[in-house]
Symmetry: none
Subunit: 425 residues, 2 copies
């Protein structure tokens, strides 16, 4: 079973809004065994909508449209569907009554004309009742294809898709399950990972696909089973078992790179370990300026293991709040192994934590020196007994250097807590 | 001049990522006078890519593709283009050298085979050199249409679009000047702003458009002159003068809401004022966990006015590092006017700064109480003589509460420094 999503609206084409609707719909459809084989967006004109629907219908059995169903002049989806599918608009009393009741429920005066226009619906459409708004969904069964039109307001679309569209699709089409497994890796590039798992990838059966999803400092590896058109296992349980086994096999090939699975984040994983070990953690940050503390505290409940942080941007703060020796700063500079080690030690003391992370570097664009170019970042993790110090050389872009430092530092803390070897490059 | 954007990748179709690339590209193209008339997304198969390109070419003069250029097996865009456009893959030594230099720069061992494969490029393509990654962009001029293929990694795509694609498009197609002016507003909603500038908007001449570009806590107002299809002024100089006047007029209508213009950021504006006034600034953060310090230090050169920050997540840190009285925390709690005022005072002392910002709130999802629900945030700004304290009530989403607090707090600091009245809602 295949679907094409068509979003309608000028605001998408000029980039005024990011289309989050279609990502949400894709997840829901995939979870229900319906493969989304294409997506497209067109503007609010009849010609563009007709061309968009015609194209969509060539790619999939089901075309789901969103947007353009409002009562204003720039919303032309309904009129276009009526024309294209040769329908008549018919007044539907029960739709009128439902919208009127909706306005009463939210304590608004009745805009009678607007309600009348929203209650005029195409005779060839099954009306999908919208209980959370005024624009009805429409379902057309034409020449063996299904065309569905939904409002673009996210919660109205979500309501209609889950309550009306998915149950009908499952009833009408026998769906094949698609199952996904994701591993999260940090601090290694796509190409190096690909090299290390080449044999595994080559030996994957045809119905399992591997995708690399890279972000700054992080690559997600996603296994998708039962891709349409391929041979399928006997049952969904078989498929799940097969994917679990493949995921385990993949994990075992790169245990040093994998920090988590599915929707895990580095800060979430670090938090989980700290909680399990019953240890308190804090940071002393220079060039990241509080970014790592911000990541840590994005996790709900992080106050259980994170009492606080010191952002010591100036030499003075490094000395005053973290006890870094003036001689250390003078001789080695603030961006040095010696300085971050003292910062980490000082942070343990000042913040009263078991484990601390310290960061000092040159984020750029200014401040570089021949022996310490822009992108040089020192980081240290210490628990009082062990202190680990590492240097990285990132790039020239300030915001990216800060972000990358966040990933590398959190991963370093993770490995330190787990007493795993840190391989530095 | 019309363009169609084609994003390639299974991750988009299964909804694992939200396609932010195409919204960004749409904005850039529109700013440069190129209308985006359609967008579509297809999966990582040759058949789907070919169908997608063919469809895109029926809708626009320029087809810009992103994604599927990585060195891994699931990336098939290049092979598909070679086949579809009847090309030969040719080894390009200079591309090889650039990628090798890139790996050296980021201190990585050379994956020679992968670099070789990335240096094999179609003979009919103009290679767009990627200085921030390994996948080159490709530009095809075929039958009067332009086909451009870019990597999907956002910063690589952004680099290539601005540095290579837009200049070429502007050189190849005669584009009519479109001129933009932007005002940045904070802490007020789109509908309230629209109401206040209604008359101005109604009286705008046909060739000037006003767009509202909302983000969390911020609305950008963009005036675009000489929109395609409308009457145009005599010269570009005339148009510029007219837009300058309109921008001034608009600014004068909402001086309390505008914090900057064009690409200004709140942290950049705050930094500029601090520098002008020769004052040192620091933060004491609880619920934002270092986020505001992070924003401040995103600005290059911020060390000139920002010596540091204290993230005091726990009661103990609030007392120990900021001198908040135990009795204050006991009687009023950490989320109170009294506590943030003491935090601000303590931060001035501890950090040795002239002006300080303190924040304490309940970011959620847990921790809410009947009299202090999730989303309650107190903030204080102090220079030792004046102390301003404000309470806000944001929503239920943790990440969004932190972000909104950042906007409201920086805007409060800005108004405090300028001694402008702070109107609270």
């Amino acid at each position: 079973m295949t679907a094409h999503l068509l979003t309608i609206g000028d605001e998408i084409l000029i980039g005024q809004i990011v289309d989050t609707n279609s990502a949400w719909m894709s997840r829901q459809l995939n979870l229900n065994g319906i493969a989304v084989v294409g997506k497209s967006s067109v503007g609010d004109t009849r010609q563009a909508i007709v061309a968009g629907i015609e194209h969509a219908a060539t790619t999939a059995q089901i075309v789901i449209m969103t947007g353009g169903l409002g009562p204003t002049k720039d919303d032309v989806t309904k009129a276009t569907l009526v024309e294209m599918f040769g329908c008549q608009l018919v007044f539907q009393q029960e739709v009128y009554d439902r919208i009127a009741a909706y306005f009463q429920k939210i304590n608004r005066p009745l805009p009678v004309e607007l309600i009348r226009s929203q209650a005029m619906l195409p005779d060839k459409a099954v009306v999908l009742p919208n209980k959370v708004g005024t624009a009805s969904g429409m379902w057309f069964d034409l020449d063996g294809k299904v065309f569905v039109s939904l409002p673009g307001v996210p919660f109205e679309m979500e309501y209609l898709l889950t309550q009306e569209v998915l149950p009908r699709l499952k009833a009408q089409f026998a769906s094949r399950p698609i199952v996904h497994r994701t591993l999260q890796t940090a601090c290694e590039g796509e190409s190096v990972i690909a090299k290390r798992i080449e044999t595994f990838e080559d030996r994957l059966p045809g119905h399992i696909k591997l995708a690399y999803l890279p972000a700054l400092g992080i690559v997600r590896l996603r296994l998708s089973g039962n891709w349409p058109g391929e041979v399928t296992p006997n049952s969904e349980a078989d498929l799940n078992a097969e994917l679990d086994a493949k995921k385990k096999e993949l994990w075992a090939l790169i245990p040093d790179l994998v920090f988590g699975e599915e929707e895990d984040s580095l800060q979430g994983v670090v938090g989980k370990i700290l909680r399990q070990q019953g240890r308190q953690f804090g940071t002393a940050e220079s060039c990241t300026g509080g970014y790592v503390a911000h990541l840590i505290t994005l996790v709900p409940g992080s106050s259980d293991y994170f009492p606080g942080s010191v952002v010591s941007y100036s030499y003075e703060m490094k000395s005053k709040l973290l006890g870094v020796k003036a001689s250390t700063l003078e001789i080695f500079g603030a961006v040095s192994a010696e300085a971050v080690a003292e910062m980490a030690e000082g942070a343990r003391e000042t913040l009263g934590v078991d484990v601390s992370l310290a960061i000092s570097g040159i984020a750029g664009p200014g401040g570089g020196m021949p022996e310490k170019p822009v992108g040089t970042v020192w980081m240290a993790v210490s628990d009082g007994e062990r202190t680990q110090v590492v240097k990285h050389l990132f790039g020239r872009d300030r915001a990216k250097n800060i972000q990358l430092t966040g990933v590398y530092a959190l991963n370093m803390v993770r490995k330190f807590l787990l007493e795993e070897t840190l391989v530095t490059t």
